[in-house]
Symmetry: C2
Subunit: 201 residues, 2 copies
C-alpha cells in the first residue's frame, strides 16, 4: 500500500475515535435519563467496532444484571444475572481489567454459558469494566460472531467508554436539587483532601 | 508540502487530541480532589495549545471566581472575582457559548480589565463554558500573548474539556457514602424519566 494511502486510513480511524469520544462527552451535558445514555453509548460502540453484539451489565449488590444490549432479546434485559464470581464478565468486574479474546471465547476456562443469550456462541470477546470514581459499577462487552483480532484503538475506545459511562451513571443518578446546591468555587478553594475511597471491587 | 507530509502532521495532531481526551477520561476514575483535577487539566490544555495562559473560573452564586491558573500570580486564586454580567468570561458563562478572538481581545466591547492579571493585555482569547448536567458551573480560558488564529481542533478540545471538567467537579463533590449507596442496575431498569428523581435509597 502506498504510504499516503496508509496514512489516510490511519487518520480516518483516529478521527472516528475522536468523534466517538466527542459524542460521549456531549452526553455528559444533556439531562438524559440513564437508559437513554446507555442506548446512545451502545449504538456508538456498535458503529465504531462493527461488532455483532454490545452488552452492558450493571452491578446489583453481588450480581451483574444485563441492562443494555445492541439487540435486546425479549425478556433478557433485567433478567439475565450472573454472580460476580462467574464467567468472563464476572472476571472483568472482579479483576477490573480489560479482557480481549480474539477467538473461541467459549473455550476459555473462565467462560460460563447462560444458555439464554446467542452471544454465548460468538468467537471474539472484548470487555472492559465500567468505573465511577474508582469503583467498578458494571461491565461492557463487545462480541464478534467470527474470530476478530481486537486493535489497540478498539481496546482504548472500550476503556474510555467504561470510564465515561461509569461517570455518566453517577451524574444521572443525582437529584437535580443536589446539583443546584453545588458550590463549585468553594469546592475548588476549600483545600479539602480527596474523600476516602469507596471500597473497590 | 508533499501530501504524505501533510497527512503525517494532521495525524500527529489528531493523535495528540485523542491522548488529551484519554488523559482527562483517566482522571474520572481516580479519587482525586478537585484541586488536583483542575491542576492536571490546566497542564494538559497548556501542553496541547501552547498557550501563554490557561485560567479557570468557577461559579459562586452570581460571581465567577478565579480557581485555577497555569501560572498563578500570588493572591489572585480565590480573589479575582467578576460578576456574570461582566467581561468576556461573563459573556461565555451567560451565553453558554464558545468564544474565539484571534487578536486585540482587549478591544472587544465585552472586554473588561480587572487590572490584576497580566493576561488582560494578551492578544488572543479562546473561552468555553464548564458544564455539568446541562448547567454552567464555570468557564475555562486559553490566552496567547500574540495574535493566534484558533484552529477547529483547539476549539473542539476546549469544548470537550468544558464538558468533562464540569462533570469531574460534580463527581469530586460527592461524598463516598453516596457512591456506595448507588444502585446502578436499579437506575437503568427503573424506567424513570430523566431526573429530577427521588434518591434511590
Amino acid at each position: 500500500m502506498p504510504k499516503s494511502k496508509e496514512l489516510e486510513l490511519k487518520l480516518q480511524r483516529t478521527e472516528e475515535q475522536l468523534r466517538l469520544f466527542q459524542k460521549i462527552s456531549r452526553l455528559m451535558v444533556r439531562d438524559l435519563g440513564f437508559q437513554e445514555v446507555l442506548k446512545s453509548v451502545v449504538s456508538f460502540v456498535v458503529e465504531f467496532t462493527g461488532c455483532d453484539s454490545c452488552l452492558v451489565y450493571l452491578l446489583d449488590r453481588e450480581e451483574l444484571v444485563l441492562c443494555g444490549s445492541s439487540s435486546p432479546h425479549p425478556g433478557t434485559l433485567g433478567k439475565v444475572r450472573l454472580r460476580i464470581s462467574e464467567g468472563l464478565t464476572g472476571w472483568v468486574a472482579r479483576e477490573r481489567r480489560l479482557l480481549a479474546l480474539p477467538r473461541e471465547a467459549f473455550k476459555d476456562p473462565r467462560f460460563r454459558s447462560f444458555g439464554e443469550l446467542p452471544e454465548d456462541t460468538f468467537e471474539a470477546f472484548l470487555s472492559a469494566p465500567l468505573i465511577a470514581r474508582n469503583r467498578v459499577v458494571g461491565v461492557i462487552n463487545v462480541q464478534h460472531r467470527m474470530p476478530h483480532q481486537y486493535t489497540g484503538s478498539e481496546m482504548e475506545v472500550l476503556t474510555v467508554v467504561g470510564e465515561q459511562v461509569g461517570s455518566l451513571l453517577v451524574l444521572a443518578s443525582l437529584p437535580a436539587k443536589e446539583l443546584e446546591s453545588l458550590a463549585p468555587a468553594e469546592l475548588a478553594l476549600s483545600g479539602a483532601p480527596a474523600p476516602p475511597a469507596a471500597p473497590k471491587r
